[in-house]
């Protein structure tokens, strides 16, 4: 029995991250009554780790990327023991953009045509040209820095000057040049000059535990101030447990728990899911009924299937000269030399290298001691000084292909603080991904050596690196092969929309956040164009 019923709204959006914020802002111009329910809270910039002396340590505790380690009341546990890659996320206004690195690449035109070009996975039901105006709109709202003319991409909008190369970028740029391989300043969702009321980057080093300066584009400080001014209501500490439907297969609203743990019903004409590739299938699979015994909008049986991460390799070098340490935004340069398929490499599709500057004093110590390079005892100081401020390197972000055996399901035992059943992850690294990871480690080692590194540290896959959660409610034109249609509407429930990374048909070899934002704007615009016939 639900104790409280709220006033009906036109649209309820579940989740306030990259997609929920963008869609809320876009739909606000319709003057519909729009409500966003967010299970977390607003994060205060003056509480971010970079404001305190123990900023590195706090990255591993209350600002950890792992919800299981962070374990805030606003988090839900995730059983990811049956996966070599652990889930990373953040639950709060801004979602994952609070802790992301702000690496902001677009997909390539070829990423939407994987089946046609390479005979694997599926083509998307939309193409790059369809998304391009929404990429531009999302770029303007988020504020993107970069350098025009990257030969790995079609021409794209240039808004702010690129992030600095620094010593690390120059060293590795020289390494890539030595081998004749592509590199370019990364597109970054980082303000390199004052932008839309935000201050410019001052190289705090701590993008991945929240930007106290406000230079990094997290949606709590980009979209949300505009959306709220335009009349959208954002309700925090509101954790949705399920979506209800009537006998006509139409969603009637959502059930959620408020801050006091009181269960409430929020009636709505339209429900939009923006909870990421794990949270969205969790809500759908928890929403069982006589009409949908296997989970809401799941007549295809594909909700929670085809989970894709980006398997990451980490390749770091130690140099005999001082570099930048951790200083700078995390984002620096990238290389897409190995982005497209070349079957002679032993795998299909490809990856991006992202150069990630260096480490702080604690991070260097962890890396050195726990890799056996810095001993305890008398020799500790001498060995530490050989590594501190002398490390830089890169990660290889590998395209993960969809496989129905990689899944999000509901765990038999685990529940969150409101008693809502939690997600379980079952994921196996494919042979294709394994070969791609190995190749990325070998080539990056060559780059680092060409740049002057004398010692190389590698990890593949990065065990805690499940940052990108995609594919679990894929879009498509065939109701038997997809969960939502080509503009995000459920095939089964005509007033239910998915707008987050769950939509992805394939993952590409780049970070997804820029595409998630663009897709959310595209879905919202598709809705606006069809308001009179939205449920037909």
């Amino acid at each position: 029995m639900l104790s409280k019923q709220e006033e009906r709204v036109d649209v309820v959006i579940i989740g306030s991250g990259a997609s929920g914020a963008a869609a809320a802002w876009s739909l606000a111009e319709t003057r519909m009554k729009i409500l966003c329910l967010e299970q977390g809270e607003w994060t205060k910039p003056n509480e971010y780790p970079s404001t305190t002396r123990d900023w590195e340590a706090r990255h591993f505790t209350e600002f950890s990327i792992s919800p299981n380690r962070r374990a805030r009341k606003t988090d839900y546990p995730i059983n990811d023991r049956n996966s070599p890659i652990a889930i990373a996320n953040f639950n709060g206004v801004g979602g994952g953009t609070i802790l992301y690195n702000a690496h902001f690449p677009r997909f390539h035109p070829s990423d939407f045509r994987v089946r046609t070009l390479d005979g694997v996975a599926d083509d998307w039901p939309i193409d790059y040209e369809t998304l391009e105006p929404y990429y531009d709109e999302n770029d303007r709202m988020m504020g993107v820095s970069g350098l025009a003319g990257d030969p790995a991409y079609p021409p794209k909008l240039e808004l702010m000057k690129p992030v600095p190369l620094g010593k690390a970028g120059q060293a590795l740029g020289q390494g890539f040049n030595e081998l004749g391989w592509h590199w370019w300043p990364s597109d970054a969702a980082v303000a390199t000059e004052p932008y839309d009321g935000r201050a410019q980057c001052i190289n705090l080093s701590a993008c991945t535990s929240g930007c106290a300066q406000g230079a990094k584009a997290s949606t709590d400080i980009t979209y949300w101030p505009h959306a709220i001014r335009a009349g959208v209501e954002l309700r925090t500490n509101a954790r949705v447990s399920q979506i209800l439907v009537d006998e006509n297969d139409m969603a009637t609203g959502v059930v959620y728990f408020d801050e006091e743990g009181i269960e409430r019903f929020q009636p709505a004409e339209v429900v939009m899911l923006a909870c990421n590739g794990v949270g969205t299938p969790r809500v759908l699979l928890n929403s069982t009924s006589n009409r949908f015994p296997d989970g809401l909008a799941n007549r295809s049986g594909l909700v929670g299937k085809n989970l894709m991460f980006h398997p990451y390799s980490s390749i770091q070098g130690v140099f005999d000269r001082p570099l930048d340490g951790s200083h700078g935004p995390g984002v620096c340069i990238w290389s897409q030399e190995f982005y497209e398929t070349d079957l002679s490499r032993g795998y299909v599709r490809g990856f991006t290298y992202e150069i990630n500057r260096g480490r702080g004093p604690v991070g260097t110590a962890y890396t050195g001691v726990f890799s056996g390079r810095i001993p305890w005892g008398e020799d500790h100081h001498q060995h530490y000084r050989r590594m501190v401020q002398r490390m830089t390197g890169m990660v290889g972000i590998c395209e993960d292909l969809p496989e129905e055996t990689n899944t999000v399901t509901i765990d038999d035992e685990m529940v969150d603080s409101d008693g809502i059943p939690c997600p379980r992850i079952d994921y196996t690294l494919s042979e294709n991904s394994r070969k791609m990871l190995d190749f990325s480690v070998e080539r990056a080692t060559e780059v680092l050596k060409a740049a002057g590194a004398y010692d190389i540290l590698t990890e593949a896959p990065i065990a805690g690196g499940g940052w990108h959660l995609m594919g679990t409610a894929r879009m498509g034109t065939d109701p038997e092969r997809s969960v939502v249609n080509e503009w995000g509407r459920s095939h089964d429930v005509k007033n239910l929309f998915v707008i987050d990374g769950s939509l992805f048909v394939t993952s590409a070899g780049v970070n997804p956040t820029r595409t998630i934002g663009a897709l959310a704007l595209y879905v919202a615009d598709s809705m606006k164009q069809r308001l009179a016939t939205l449920f037909d």
Binding site: I202, G328, F370
Partner: protein, 153 residues
């Protein structure tokens, strides 16, 4: 190093002596670099305060085993014998030692004196930020010369 070691909430005075001696063995002072010992009061206090959940219990048990295996108390051994006992501890108590080591590293490398010995400013990153050079953009010339190579569809 401490002259007088007193009991704290997490360790009695005897066990705290052992902890101080162990930390000093893991990261001893170094005159050449002007680096303090990890057994310095301020660092030991930080290590203690940073232990949460069951870590104090796990570390206490490890320190007791260290004393038992050393026959005499660890802190009463000479430097050579301490190192031998520590080496044995790494073999027998790796998990607990790793947990203590992680806490020690985060505390040691945020200590004012340590950061100063490294030539680093002892402050939070915000609000002053850091300088990073723009760099030489002409390094991109060979990349530009290669021309566009994205895959057409």
């Amino acid at each position: 190093m401490n002259e007088e070691i007193i009991a704290t909430e997490k360790f009695d005075s005897q066990l705290r002596r052992t902890l101080v001696a162990l930390l000093d063995t893991m990261i001893p002072a170094n005159d050449e670099f002007n680096a303090p010992s990890a057994g310095t009061d301020s660092i030991v206090n930080d290590v203690e305060q940073s232990m949460s959940d069951n870590t104090p219990v796990m570390v206490s048990e490890m320190l007791n085993r260290l004393n038992e295996q050393s026959k005499v108390r660890f802190e009463d051994l000479d430097a050579h014998a301490r190192w031998q006992a520590f080496t044995e501890l790494q073999r027998t108590d790796g998990h607990a030692l790793r947990a203590l080591g992680g806490i020690l590293l985060q505390c040691y490398y945020r200590n004012d004196q340590v950061l100063e010995s490294l030539g680093m400013e002892a402050r939070a990153p915000f609000p002053l930020g850091n300088e990073v050079e723009q760099g030489d953009w002409s390094l991109l010339d060979p990349v530009k010369a290669r021309g566009s190579f994205y895959r057409e569809v």
